[in-house]
């Protein structure tokens, strides 16, 4: 952001977080602590509450109960960004989409242009800078969404199914960029259905089932020997097709 928050926004801690959508409780008393430097992948069957968890952490849905703190304090403005499963592109060029995000966050003048161009180059979209964002392919739009989020230099980046509905080449491209963003020091919190991707990216797994956090486990241990019965069944059920 224009003036990066001086204080540390990590660890990100949820305590007894509960989220309701209408009458349905989609997250029930979820508590965890996300330490700096790791990549967290949120796993779980459909309807487990993965997307709701990201939306609640990012402040898009209110917590019905419980608290979330960033380095022990309330949400720091402008320290987070999110890439949605179906990102919304503004009706303007690819470069202009990134510049817009920077402009509303107070980055002006030549700095804005420089950062937007750099973000597009990193995402391999420099040649499409002037192309209307809405006519880009699904994979290109997802990369642009990632570039737009990254240009804001977030301390925490939430990604909701970033490779869903992408072909393998586009998915690999997204995976490479997530790695680069992590390497540059941004805390990654991501949901996915793709266990192969989760295995390659994750340092730790948050496993949700039916709105509850069943386990928070280092990734290696989770895939070799999950602690919970639900996770074991999930891995057995998912593995035959999703690591192919």
């Amino acid at each position: 952001m224009a003036s990066p928050a001086p204080r540390d926004v990590l660890p990100l801690e949820a305590r007894a977080l509960t989220v309701r959508l209408g009458a349905r409780e989609v997250l029930s008393h979820v508590s965890f602590r996300l330490e700096p430097g790791l990549r967290t992948v949120v796993l779980g069957p459909n309807g487990a509450g993965k997307t709701s968890l990201l939306r609640a952490l990012h402040g898009l849905v209110p917590a019905a109960a419980g608290t979330i703190t960033w380095g022990g304090a309330p949400r720091p403005r402008g320290a987070e960004a999110m890439v949605f499963q179906r990102p919304v592109m503004l009706r303007r060029g690819a470069l202009a989409n990134v510049e817009y995000a920077l402009a509303v966050n107070g980055v002006g003048g030549s700095e804005r242009r420089r950062r937007a161009r750099e973000a597009l180059e990193r995402a391999g979209l420099a040649s499409l800078a002037q192309r209307p964002a809405r006519v880009l392919s699904g994979g290109e739009q997802q990369r642009l969404a990632l570039a737009r989020a990254w240009a804001l230099r977030p301390r925490i980046l939430y990604l909701d199914e970033p490779t869903a509905s992408l072909d393998p080449t586009a998915a690999a491209e997204i995976e490479r960029e997530i790695g680069a963003i992590h390497a540059a020091g941004t805390r990654i919190v991501m949901t996915t259905h793709h266990l192969g991707l989760a295995r390659r990216i994750a340092d730790e797994i948050l496993f949700l089932h039916d709105g509850r956090l069943v386990e928070q486990t280092p990734a290696e241990r989770f895939f070799d020997a999950p602690r919970s019965e639900e996770a074991r069944q999930f891995l057995e059920g998912e593995l035959p097709w999703s690591t192919a």
Partner: protein
Amino acid sequence: MAEIFASLALALHLLAGGDPELLRIVRLSLAVSLSSAALACAIALPLGAVVAVASFRGRRALIVLMNALLGLPSVVVGLLVYLLLSRAGPLGDLGILFTPPAIVIAQTLLVIPMVAALARQTVEDAWTEYREQLTSLNVRPLRAVPTLLWDARLSLFTIALAGLGRAFSEVGAVMIVGGNVDGVTRVMTTAIALKTAEGELPLALALGVVLLLIVLGINAAAFVLRDWTAPRHG
């Protein structure tokens, strides 16, 4: 049928001949209608967009009122503007009753509810799609207003054209506040009404054909413009 063909021929003859009186009426019609449509859009587009994204007490009541004003009878608007501008009225000192500015005021008041109500619906639909993404980018609702207006520009353009159409085809209010004064406030619609009343039906019909042709021309030009810009923005 014969009458209609005769009128069509007369219309073409009037247009081709460049009849100065006709040209003056057409010019005035265009000037007042374009001005009022532009003024109305300048007020109603942001107004509709703000109502679409803002949350405040009485918002639902305001939306019902805005939608109800769509059915505002033009003669009532004409009467209100007449009372405002008449010598004894609060704005009587301006001395603009029976002048083109009076017509512009009346037409603007007629077009505003229509553009505001339709823009509110259009921008609200766009906001539904954009809300989470923009919120994620730290865009506050009021900052989203210009963004949404720009991104919905193709639909809003059609709404603006409809507003222009309403201004252009307006007769009741224009007759009351303009007075249909020959050479001063006579526009296409009031001229047609007058010629009909005088029994000069072929001339009235010919003027009607001219009016139709102009509206058609404006819409064709707008369509070409829209078609030309649309693919470049996706």
